[in-house]
């Protein structure tokens, strides 16, 4: 199902105005091993359910923000700015 996303700046818009930035992950610290960096780069939870993810309003205000979405139904539970 196609869906709407609520940009924290611009309000509800078609998902096609946005770029998907993937699930939110924890960046390793400087001391992390190569293995941990490779995991950070490639390994994904790829949650079938609710996940927190990055979005970018490409055809709008051009800012990055977060959405919490159920990936099995594409229901967007909430969106909020990256500073929150």
């Amino acid at each position: 199902m196609s869906f709407l996303l609520c940009c924290p700046n611009c309000g509800e818009r078609s998902v096609y105005e946005f770029r998907f930035g993937g699930e939110v992950r924890q960046r390793p610290t400087e001391e992390a091993s190569l293995r941990e960096w490779a995991d950070y780069l490639y390994a994904r939870k790829n949650e079938a359910g609710v996940q927190k993810e990055w979005w970018y309003h490409h055809l709008g205000c051009r800012t990055w923000f977060f959405a919490v979405r159920d990936t099995t139904t594409n229901t967007v539970l909430k969106t909020f700015g990256a500073d929150k």
Binding site: S2, N46, T71
Partner: protein
Amino acid sequence: MLQLFRKERMWRPHFLKARYDVVIIGAGVHGLAAAYYLGKRGVTNVAVLDKGYLGSGNSGRNTAIIRANYRTPEGIPFYHESVRLYEGLSQDLGYNVLFSQQGHLTLAHTDSAVDGLRVRAEANALLGVDSRLIGPDEIKRLVPAIDISTSAHQPIRAALYHPPGGIIRHDAVVWGYARGADRLGIEIHPHTEVQGIQTENGQVTAVQTNRGQIKTGTVLNVTSGWCSTIARMVGVNLPIVSHPLQACVTEPLKPFLDKVIVSSNLHVYVNQTDRGELVLGAEIDPYSSYSSASTLPTLEMIAAHTLELFPALVEVRVLRQWAGVCDMTPDYSPIMGEVPEVRGFLVDVGWGTYGFKAGPVSGKTMAELIATGRTPDLIKPFALSRFYEDRLVGEKAAAAVSH
């Protein structure tokens, strides 16, 4: 004559046993092919489980393009072997899979796309795959209905022509492998969902299903779009993101197109079935999802780009549209083999939008690995460890829209 009316079961129902030597999760082409080739090697205490019916995943949703004209020295021989196996599959299974090697054209509309096709043509020629670069005149000769005019929005510059490429009857492949595996004594269990996997000291010991527990030391994860959910049951996060891929089919038209046409620049591909319908497809949806609902924006995109290639189709109506959930890897190559952290847990996943064509060779090589414990050379480059050893196998240029 009576033979015609005899009812023949394709595969038999079974009670779930308490123990199997091998449990295959996923009854798509990959799982069923692995089961069939295991049976041929004499490994028959095997159960294939699926949470739905056979082929309810992407093996029943794909657009069935078969080809070998990939880009990398790892990918080309692998897919080449799969096409070879498909060529003999009807014979091997005693079941007609309707493989039509009608020829496959990948169009280029920009200079950089032409360069990309030239690289593939050279790599294919070196490795014995029949594929070559052709110009607009030859394209028009092969596909009279196509618009090669220079006034088009994005004129066609060249194409990679791959004569052995074509289309297959995907359901027949799934059913044929299932029937073959059943006859070799392997059990197929539809509507059996895996809900957990037990391990002891890093070794798989059992699989939990909605029909009870099964003891086993070997599990093969062949669940395409859902493979991350299975891998996480043993604590492994795979380098995979699930994206929907959509396709649609039009009302039947009189035959006018007997080649598979793909345009990466226009993000669309077209072929005409024996029944006259046009099968149209696109690239993946631009966000991850496990939803297989189809969307209007994708339909509009497919329609608009198809009309750029074939303006005469403007009045044609779409009958059906659907989606499948695809397991995308970062390099557009699969992940095959053992998972070092968990003994007895094997994967054959990351088939994304392009894995139907690889069913036979994957089934055969995974069966060899399970039966002998040795990884065949053909699939060594696709090990999960490549992501930790900086050895990615970049096939995006040859697989993104072409599937």
